[in-house]
Symmetry: C2
Subunit: 406 residues, 2 copies
């Protein structure tokens, strides 16, 4: 399997253009807040959504618009989540109509997403001005502008693309995404938009996205709060020329590998840019009883406030990781756990057989002073593995989320 990194982000795949503009949704700011991704042709479309019972209006609109397994484009605003608003559905529908009018397509051709403050009415005026401008600016070079326009408190633009082979045809798969960062945070909505020119049937596209998201994007945790507006959506233009993937098999696996590759990079980038974060934490669990337990243990450890705070303090407090392993739901043994802390500065075994292993605190502190930390947990309880990504808990997380509006 040969997956190559390439430039171009969400516009790398054949058929896609993108743009981003400042429409005025983020009041009192000149930042970009409206993005569009458009395809020259009808795409297979699939999406996964927040499992929060309180859902933003765009979630319902997107579910309806992609129910037939196809879409042409994506419209996304930042600055307002359009959630818990009595007129949210009407406004969301009106946004799709504005996109349709400006592109000559139908309102039902669009994936719609919003991120920002909950419970404040979303005005249509910025869309009336912004959407036509957005369409005018669509280009193959617009991926980064789109990536920037969906950011809220993010501090870095997140875009990735890869090239891979599908039965002799070169395919591309790219993505933009946003997580959390700083300024007017209300919700750390995670949004990831993916594009590919691989030809793939909508049902298989949905299955690939659901499967890959469950072990990548769903394994990120910044603060344990599941947003009302989370969404990952993928459009597949089919312009790469590969034989359309219509059933599981070699081609489907190759596509999933490329999707997994991009979603893993995106997950790491989203976790590393968690609100206030100074360190990326990658927890790899091996030899667990089941894959589900491996993933759950990994996510529970990197979600523990106590462990996150210890990582901020470069403190090899492995007891907090053991404690988190112990309260992970599921039927498994936590009696033979070993734990290694690893970074660019080296690695150290701090726990063996669920008890203290002799190590140098100085060496451990030196390893934990780096900004990418691997937490390697061997359960000695089976053969399955799983990964999760998080970040440290810092003063800045409290500042960002406590100083809101002051």
């Amino acid at each position: 399997m040969n997956i190559q990194n390439i430039a171009g982000g969400v516009c790398a795949a054949k058929g896609f253009t993108a743009s981003g503009v400042h429409a005025g949704i983020k009041a009192g700011s000149a930042k970009a807040d409206l993005a569009m991704i458009l395809c020259d042709t009808v795409c297979s479309a699939a999406a996964v959504y927040t499992q929060n019972k309180v859902k933003g209006a765009p979630i319902f609109v997107t579910q309806r618009n992609t129910a037939d397994g196809t879409a042409r484009g994506i419209l996304c605003n930042s600055g307002n989540a359009n959630t818990c608003n009595p007129d949210g559905m009407e406004v969301a529908q009106a946004c799709c109509e504005l996109a349709a009018k400006a592109t000559g397509l139908a309102p039902g051709d669009f994936v719609l997403a919003s991120t920002g403050v909950i419970g404040q009415a979303l005005a249509l005026a910025p869309f009336e001005r912004g959407v036509p401008e957005l369409v005018k600016k669509l280009s193959k070079e617009g991926g980064k502008d789109a990536a920037r326009a969906i950011m809220t408190t993010d501090t870095s633009v997140k875009e990735f693309a890869v090239e891979f082979d599908l039965g002799g045809s070169t395919c591309r798969l790219g993505a933009i995404g946003k997580g959390s960062g700083m300024i007017n945070p209300n919700m750390a909505t995670m949004l990831v938009f993916l594009t590919t020119d691989a030809a793939i049937k909508p049902t298989l596209l949905q299955r690939a996205l659901s499967d890959v998201a469950s072990v990548t994007l769903n394994q990120i945790c910044v603060d344990g709060d599941t947003s009302t507006n989370d969404m990952a959506a993928i459009l597949a233009s089919g312009l790469a020329g590969n034989a359309c993937i219509e059933e599981p098999g070699e081609g489907y696996e190759a596509f999933c590998d490329a999707l997994h590759n991009v979603c893993t990079k995106m997950s790491r980038a989203l976790a590393a840019d968690g609100e206030g974060a100074t360190k990326l934490l990658e927890c790899k669990v091996t030899n667990a009883r089941t894959a589900a337990i491996a993933h759950a243990v990994a996510k529970t450890v990197i979600a523990s406030d106590l462990f996150k705070a210890a990582m901020f303090g470069a403190d090899a407090n492995w007891g907090r990781a053991l404690c988190a392993i112990g309260y992970t739901p599921g039927d498994f043994s936590a009696e033979h756990v070993s734990l290694v802390l690893k970074s660019g500065a080296g690695q150290v075994l701090v726990c063996e057989e669920s008890a203290h292993a002799p190590y140098s605190e100085e060496e451990a502190s030196r390893i934990l002073a780096e900004n990418e930390i691997e937490v390697l947990i061997d359960m000695h309880d089976g053969v399955e593995s799983g990964v999760a990504w998080g970040c440290d808990l810092t003063y800045d997380y409290v500042k960002i989320n406590g100083d809101y509006r002051s």
Copy 2:
């Protein structure tokens, strides 16, 4: 129902004495770290424990020692959790033997508890010196010393006692407790020791403690981390002279009311003194579909890092509470929620029908500037209710836990 607050804490009930000393378990500190509670007579005993798969050695020892439904005393150290230590069980047993030798009782007469660092060997020497001193100091006035000796990062002593009537006999029920970090008890260590002179059969005592703890102590959350050493234990001396409670009925209900009263006060005190906390959050959920959902919603809201940080910043960011309600597991509707923020400075309706209610931000900030905040959530989805207690997320939480061991 007549429940009166009285002084005396864990020594208020007839038959109980207590003491606390500095035995040297907390290295480099002169703080008290060893406590004993002893009864003149054999007590009915009951306890609830952490549900963490990784359990401290004292948990297993106490389960064994109280398996017959009786005990005579409680020995508890702070500074070291005696958890994840290969020799933990031997050390725990030796602690009970030291207590037996100094009191003339049997090792199996003792409830044993430990709280502190995980994964560091617990030396016996401090117990060899401290336990005899502890026994010498036992007195009716020693409750506060015992309460102080079980503290870790707690900033306040927690003790309560009440007097109540059982069929003409005046009974007393008192408690000491400690909390602070790693607090999401699921029966950090959260430790609560209760004493009463009511006569009650061990099986009913266990049932009362389990039922009351599930709606009081288990509804506290400081940081979502369920400790390996949580324990709430109760000893009933039977010296009050009441007809022994041997079956459910009026007497049992009166006893449960008193237990609920003390455990509620203790829960509030533990939450208010959460690590780094500046505010007590009390979330009351009404009109939920089931009592379990009401309790789960209340606990999820006060456990949300984002909501906790907003409370620290006195920001009426109700969208974060709605978001937390929405990701609470369970089958219920979050479509008609109303939310009131209340404190000594007044109250304000901030959300109605799961949408923004018009309110003054200035008034809300004034209300949230107080140090006890009530979050009143009406689900409009049934008739059941539930309460949970938490605290705000502050810079000091990060500071305390980023630097715990150094």
